[in-house]
Subunit: 437 residues, 2 copies
Amino acid sequence: MRIVTRCLSDKAARFVPKTGVYPKGYVVGGIHCGVKKNQESLDLALLHNTFAEQEASAAAVFTTNKFKAAPVQVSQRILKESKGFGINSIVVNSGNANAVTGLQGIKDAEDMVLVTDSVLESKSSSTLVMSTGVIGNKLPIDNILSGIPKLALNHLGNTHQHWIDCAKAICTTDTFPKLITKQFKLNEDTYTLAGLCKGAGMICPNMATLLGFFVTDTPVTPSALQQILKYAVDRSFNSISVDGDMSTNDTIAAIANGAAGGEVIDLNASCGERYAALQKEITSFAQELAQLVVRDGEGATKFITIRVKDGLSHKDAKSIASSVANSSLFKTAMYGKDANWGRILCAIGYADVTNGNNSVIPSKTSVKFIPIDGSSPLQLLTNGEPEKVDEERASEILQDEDLIVEIDLGTGGGQSADFWTCDLSHEYITINGDYRS
Amino acid sequence: MRIVTRCLSDKAARFVPKTGVYPKGYVVGGIHCGVKKNQESLDLALLHNTFAEQEASAAAVFTTNKFKAAPVQVSQRILKESKGFGINSIVVNSGNANAVTGLQGIKDAEDMVLVTDSVLESKSSSTLVMSTGVIGNKLPIDNILSGIPKLALNHLGNTHQHWIDCAKAICTTDTFPKLITKQFKLNEDTYTLAGLCKGAGMICPNMATLLGFFVTDTPVTPSALQQILKYAVDRSFNSISVDGDMSTNDTIAAIANGAAGGEVIDLNASCGERYAALQKEITSFAQELAQLVVRDGEGATKFITIRVKDGLSHKDAKSIASSVANSSLFKTAMYGKDANWGRILCAIGYADVTNGNNSVIPSKTSVKFIPIDGSSPLQLLTNGEPEKVDEERASEILQDEDLIVEIDLGTGGGQSADFWTCDLSHEYITINGDYRS
């Protein structure tokens, strides 16, 4: 598996934080337990909530793929049975997805939960389990089950390095670990968020990253947390694309232990303002995290924001943005720094929209490239009529890593959506052509 | 434009016929008129029906993309106004798609029709027009309009070489011209079909090849021809995938001049048997032609049939086959000769199906690789349980250019669908990264 040797790249220097302020009451860690071949590759991660004064709240969003991996099925059941109360741990292995592994796979996932609960002296079924890696191979479960006590007893902590190790231990083809933190205020109370995820290939709407979780010391009920998570994921992890494939394992989970005190945020009207503020914080946090996945798309050399404006509905706007973001021809043109904007229109034209000819009106559609350095945008199409494009300027803009493609649908509906994607490169083919070797 | 220099490949030797028997009453040809830069590249094609004893019937299927290229809009209008009667010519330029070219684009397409009608002394609007190539650039219309008389007056004929030239003149990134012929009998009458198309990139369901047309000397009414064409295209050009993008220009047209005589085939019940026989002939002919497009998928090194069996409906079966055929991860694994069959399941799992959990039942799904050399299939998954796969045998099977992936959904619905696709290779990225350069 080439995965790990690629985990040190120049992107690491740009996107991996050197330090972090972490939420109260959590310990984390990562070790090598023997799923990946390379002995220096971390492949087992654990997060544990140590704040015992009140029950933590948990929420999660899972893949909609019909072939749900065993850990997805097990975590869904545990979360449902707990009603989101008292989930204290998340255990993750990388290197093997435990997907399409039949009944043995379910037992293996359950055993990971059982051993984690037992070694951390938690009540039963208070752990969510995740796996990522190759599909269709049975887990080397003995290595994992003997690794969990070792990790739980000797390698958990709350230093920045512990968080980095945890983030590294969930990587597969990622070239850098994805970890961010954020402090924010709700009225006078200060709270902290920490989040990590892994992405690379198989990234697509309806569960973008393979795996991710974030934790906070904010006090919030499970039902409020679930609703906020769903809202945030829809606008972050479900609005990114690397190659358009939706994995069997995709899971985003959140735990809030309330360790920083303050009034509990609920769905009740009385919490409306704090609820809205928390939703905003978590959504922008999730976007920042999800964007790291695009930055590290397999073989990606570009980071492209598809911004659709004035759609008839949010759903239409997102569908059109997604169609462009997932077009192999568009993504390949971006890799080639080729201002072949016809491919953008082509992808708008075959997007799956609900309102037929009212959703996309060629004679009202405008498209421009917006450089992120603040220099002037380059208009490509105005109300369906092509502009005489300054190719030199286009080429200049496409030299940059970042680009915003703005599509104004001109429908009068006023709904917009952002979608983030990367280019499709030679390196993507190389990575995925022999992923298992 | 690299297009033409790539038009001579080893695939040409395998897939381009050395000779052909052509339907009665047609002349065709292709020349260089100055759309493509390379002076040796043919870029203008013309087909003309010379059989004047009865009015020819025409039919066509067009792209559903909302940004329909100017020639698509013009051809749709002409076909509609003619009700399928008396269309005698098809004129095509390659190298420029005349798409998203505003009002000027419409006028250019209309002028191509006008000049063709005029020089061939046809009644007005008896020509269909097609264009293929880069989107968003205005046509070099003067070169085309002066090329049409030159081609029509001096370079039309009915030899094999004329047909080859015509097929070459519609190529863009194709590495070989796509031309096939077939003779068949309806009762005692012998008829002939000739078809040509161009494909390469942007190939996807709901109009697979960018352009194609076939002609026959069978006598058939326009309404019967239209219905047969739609049926055939659904099972051929709409069941292939190269990169999942649907073009602004996709058009498949057919002309039947009845020059070989015999009873006219209509939708009437009395023609039922001959109608069915003709539909079968045209469908298998269209499949053979469409498969050439996959053989020549941009950068393709493999030809893969996705065969879905026992689906709840034909639509579901086709949607699932399409989902696998369009998965970048699956296609890249095929390029890498990697039996990463988990990616097949993954793509089945996110396919857009109508009957939810009844359409895909993981515990009833089985998958196998079927080599086309007649050696034994390799079972990968049986009723949702993974098989212990003989990797050596898998690798052996994947060395072959051709492969059938058979997915048995086990729903009891008994509906099946075939879909044809190629792999996703380094060469695809190279071709599309700088298509316009």
